[in-house]
């Protein structure tokens, strides 16, 4: 999962589980952001269920926040301002699909 940092357009990342437990991150204020991502992820899951693809919070400085549901986890990504939202979501979703398909136990989904 730490390879997420190498994806083009990813400035910061954080992976949290459903209990707000931060698994991996490269953020300073990771506890607070982890709790926030978990809250928003769970709330949005209530609307989209398994068809929820991702959530975006657009920011004025263009470092938008993305939340991707990954099995029992939520992946938060803050994008670089130089990359577009569509490109970033494409890159991250491709990475997640590859990650899941390469796992022998495939327990992320």
């Amino acid at each position: 999962m730490i390879h997420i940092a190498r994806i083009e357009g990813v400035k910061h990342y954080i992976l949290v589980d459903h209990n707000q437990q931060v698994i991996v991150h490269n953020l300073k204020d990771y506890r607070r952001i982890g709790a926030m991502i978990c809250f928003c992820g769970l709330q949005s899951y209530a609307l989209g269920k398994s068809r929820l693809k991702f959530l975006i919070f657009e920011r004025k400085n263009h470092n938008d926040l993305f939340i991707f549901p990954v099995g029992n986890y939520y992946l938060g990504v803050i994008k670089h301002k130089t990359i577009g939202a569509v490109e970033l979501t494409h890159n991250v979703l491709a990475f997640l699909n590859e990650l899941v398909s390469n796992r022998p136990d495939k327990n992320l989904h």
Partner: protein
């Protein structure tokens, strides 16, 4: 004339005798709050000083603007205190559904705004349909449903226009 209470958001019917010099002063029929609302064609900034709730005229203008935008499945306005204000969503969604959608999207953006105060918009991308929340002031948000992600240029332009017009209310 229909005006919404600044405090509880209830709809009030105002007679011409209650309007003096482009200003309506009325007591809300539900919460008894004394409202003083600009009704004339004053500047946006002047209107902002008197209300944080979109007036009926504002709502109508907003609805007319959004109805002209292609590719939107529907939209509604959601007030944090009073819930759904203007419903132009497909009939399959019940009022309770919209209340839940509105509450969830607004609570998401509020929680994230503590950490990132410059958040302007929220996208919820679900297979086959997307929801976009654009806050139009501190208590009221416009929620739009559409099939495409990202928004088309016209949809983006309209949302920006809506946002700019109403953000300036709070300047």
């Amino acid at each position: 004339m229909i005006l919404f209470c600044e405090d509880c958001g209830n709809k009030n019917v105002i007679g011409p005798d209650q309007v003096t010099d482009h200003k309506a002063v009325f007591r809300c029929s539900v919460c008894n709050y004394l409202n003083s609302v600009s009704t004339g064609r004053k500047t946006v900034a002047q209107t902002a000083k008197t209300t944080t709730h979109p007036s009926a005229n504002d709502c109508d203008r907003l609805v007319q603007t959004l109805k002209k935008v292609p590719g939107l499945s529907g939209f509604f306005l959601f007030h944090t205190k009073t819930g759904v204000l203007q419903n132009h969503m497909p009939g399959v969604l019940l009022h309770q559904d919209l209340e839940i959608i509105g509450k969830i999207l607004i609570s998401n953006i509020k929680i994230c705004s503590f950490q990132y105060p410059d958040i302007t918009r929220q996208f919820l991308v679900i297979e086959g349909k997307n929801l976009v929340l654009q806050m139009i002031n501190k208590t009221c948000g416009l929620i739009v449903a559409c099939h495409t992600f990202p928004l088309t240029a016209l949809q983006e332009k309209t949302m920006d226009h809506v946002a700019r017009a109403h953000w300036s209310l709070e300047a």
